[in-house]
């Protein structure tokens, strides 16, 4: 589904990703772990198409096509979703209005019929029930005045509603208490599907107790330096990221 090869990305004059390779197949859950500043969020942003993230080398192929050639809204319509680490507050834009506009814009681009407000609300109610979210969230402006946990849950709610094929979660676990973390994990697990893939970016192993990954990758200094199954995450938890650096030095010697 997603194939990243030799990806080099520069942000504000500084090269952050330095030859990243990653292959994600449909149905898989990949965890990307790594220390702060390794380039984890850069990976999320560059896949979603944020301006200012300049690809200087490498390719990203999604569903057989060049993902990097698409505008952010085209990527969204083709099924790419980024759950933001810091969801943006947008005063004056009603959450429900925004979500319906977004969903219908995607559907229009895909040549699917738009949902009328009744169909849309029905879908909203279903997803709210799964995520144990309050209706009240819908009537507020997008993320305005939401607590940190509410913002993250709203990201997961948007994901549930938009039903992407490739969901990238950028530190969705950061700042969450255990209940909110479980809710986020339940939301993701409910959506696991042979046709859908997840890239879960996280700093801590804790989330992976609830979202069990098929693969774990360690991202350090702009590259995937280690890949393995979920036990890699447990070893990282035990030894810390310094352990990876030491192994690299040992391997090079």
């Amino acid at each position: 589904m997603l194939k990243i090869e030799n990806l080099h990305v520069r942000v504000a004059g500084k090269v952050i990703l330095k030859g990243l390779d990653l292959t994600v197949n449909a149905g898989e859950v990949h965890a990307i772990m790594g220390p702060n500043g390794a380039g984890k969020s850069t990976l999320g942003y560059v896949l979603a198409g944020r301006e200012g993230y300049e690809v200087i080398d490498g390719t990203v192929t999604y569903e057989g096509a060049d993902l990097l050639a698409l505008e952010p809204e085209e990527r969204a319509a083709s099924g790419v979703f980024l759950a933001f680490q810091y969801p943006v507050e947008i005063p004056g834009v009603n959450n429900t209005y925004f979500l319906r506009a977004a969903l219908n814009a995607q559907r229009r681009r895909r040549g699917e019929p738009e949902l009328d407000s009744m169909q849309f609300l029905k879908r909203v109610r279903e997803k709210l029930a799964v995520l144990h979210l309050k209706d009240e969230l819908l009537h507020r402006a997008v993320n305005e005045g939401f607590s940190g946990g509410e913002k993250k849950r709203n990201e997961i709610f948007q994901m549930a509603l938009l039903e992407p094929r490739l969901a990238i979660l950028d530190e969705t676990d950061s700042g969450l208490d255990i209940d909110a973390l479980k809710m986020v994990a339940d939301g993701v697990n409910a959506m696991r599907d042979p046709g859908r893939a997840f890239v879960v970016i996280t700093h801590y192993q804790r989330l992976l107790d609830y979202i069990v990954p098929d693969f774990v990758h360690v991202l350090a200094e702009g590259r995937i330096v280690e890949s393995g199954d979920r036990t890699l995450a447990l070893r990282l938890e035990e030894h810390g990221y310094a352990w990876i650096a030491e192994r690299k030095v040992a391997g090079a010697a």
């Binding site: 944020r50 947008i90 979500l99 506009a101 814009a105 938009l162």
Partner: protein
């Protein structure tokens, strides 16, 4: 004086020939003399620093419209969704009973200004004999000198008016450039409440000068909800002055939308004269083309524990220019005042300009005061967030701009009116036009 505008309007020394009483003829004469003596303000006048009147001063305008009482006006021009109740219409400054609908409301009276000045008007004299002492108020003087008509609305003590009262000022095309005046007086008795719309519209292509003064007097515990909606064509000039005096515990909630006009100047002066009086002001301008809109707020806290809360937004595209001057003065003795002013602006083009100037002057103790003003561009991060959810760029931009402006009008409860204003704002904001603009600048 060499000011063509004043020569054309006052040059022959005559004042309007209407059945005004002697006392108002005096008002006119005094105002006319002051105006001839001092002329129009220049850019050296601090209050007119950003609005140059030179080209307006060099124009000649005919005094009023002789056919104003009979001109045909399209019903769609004066309609406003959500305002289905009492309506009074003025065409080029002249009352039009045939276009108005006023049925008796218990405790509310409506008269046209021309009737009031024909009588002795004991109750209104204080307001109507108000002198405009500063040269900066030249247009208010011009209004006093030449005004013929306008709405005079009084609400008796204790009366809460359920209907939304709609006052429409129509600038109608006459085939020549005219200058028209209108004067509004609105008095709310003790504990009275009223919802009022001041609606400025015009016919396409007219390049007239409209010059209005509205005076609002709120007795103790009165509440006025005022919507000022200005959607004139982008060819006309409108100079307006809104003045309000609030007695103890009175509340003024005013929302001002400046969407049209080529040259617009609005002075909103509010005096919080009684203890615990409150002003809540929301406003927005959304400009394009070569529009120039200058808003001056002048809020005076005179009594104790008074509150002013001002939230204004501005958007300027193409070669337009917006000016915002927000002055709050807390006078000596107005202890416990709470003053808040926020003005945020969006520049959508490199040729557009917005000048914002918050001014806070405090002479009292235990005052809470905050003010802030910014001029910026659309938030790139928010734009990316919306696009990452699938919204196309032009839609995402329009949505953010609408949201930016909407903060200033979101408390309008009348659903039809609120939707209409949203639609007006959206129509003003460059969304569908965005792609063609970019294509043009690239060629």
């Amino acid at each position: 004086m060499g000011v063509a505008l004043l020569d054309s309007l006052l040059g022959d020394g005559s004042i309007p020939d209407d059945p005004a009483s002697d006392w108002f003829v005096d008002v006119r004469r005094r105002a006319s003399e002051a105006l001839v003596r001092d002329g129009l303000p220049t850019a050296r006048e601090e209050a007119w620093k950003y609005t140059n009147l030179r080209s307006l001063a060099q124009r000649r305008h005919a005094r009023g419209d002789e056919q104003a009482a009979s001109r045909a006006i399209d019903a769609a021009t004066i309609a406003l969704p959500g305002a289905d109740g009492p309506r009074v219409v003025f065409v080029n400054g002249v009352y039009r009973a045939d276009l108005s609908r006023w049925s008796a409301i218990e405790g509310v009276s409506f008269q046209s200004f021309s009737e009031v000045i024909a009588g002795d008007a004991q109750a209104e004299r204080v307001l109507l004999t108000r002198r405009f002492d500063s040269k900066a108020q030249a247009f208010a003087r011009l209004n006093s000198a030449l005004v013929l008509d306008g709405p005079v609305i009084r609400v008796a003590a204790g009366v809460g008016v359920p209907e939304l009262v709609h006052v429409v000022y129509v600038g109608a095309a006459t085939g020549t450039d005219i200058a028209w005046q209108a004067r509004a007086l609105v008095e709310l008795g003790e504990g009275a409440s009223l919802r009022l719309v001041e609606h400025h519209v015009g016919e396409a292509g007219q390049a007239d000068l409209g010059n209005t003064v509205s005076q609002f007097a709120l007795r103790a515990h009165a509440r006025l909800d005022l919507l000022q909606l200005q959607t004139m064509p982008e060819s006309g000039t409108l100079i307006r002055r809104s003045e309000a005096v609030l007695e103890a515990d009175a509340q003024l909630h005013v929302r001002t939308l400046e969407l049209g006009g080529l040259l617009v100047r609005h002075d909103l002066a509010v005096e919080l004269a009684g203890d615990r009086a409150r002003l809540h002001s929301r406003g927005v301008f959304a400009l394009r083309g070569r529009q120039h809109v200058d808003t001056h707020l002048d809020v005076r806290h005179v009594a104790r524990d008074t509150v002013s809360d001002l939230l204004w937004r501005g958007v300027a595209d193409q070669r337009s220019r917006g000016v915002f001057h927000g002055a709050i003065t807390v006078a000596a003795g107005a202890d416990g005042a709470d003053a808040n002013l926020s003005n945020k602006n969006l520049l959508l083009s490199a040729q557009a300009e917005i000048d914002t100037q918050p001014v806070l002057e405090i002479h009292a103790d235990e005052v809470k005061a905050a003010h802030g003003a910014t001029v910026g561009q659309l938030d790139e991060h928010a734009l990316f967030y919306l696009r990452a959810r699938g919204l196309p760029m032009p839609v995402a931009r329009a949505l953010l701009m609408l949201a930016f402006c909407r903060v200033a009008v979101d408390s309008i409860e009348n659903v039809a009116l609120h939707e209409h204003i949203d639609a007006l704002l959206l129509e003003r904001l460059p969304h569908a036009a965005m792609d063609t603009d970019e294509a043009q600048s690239g060629s």
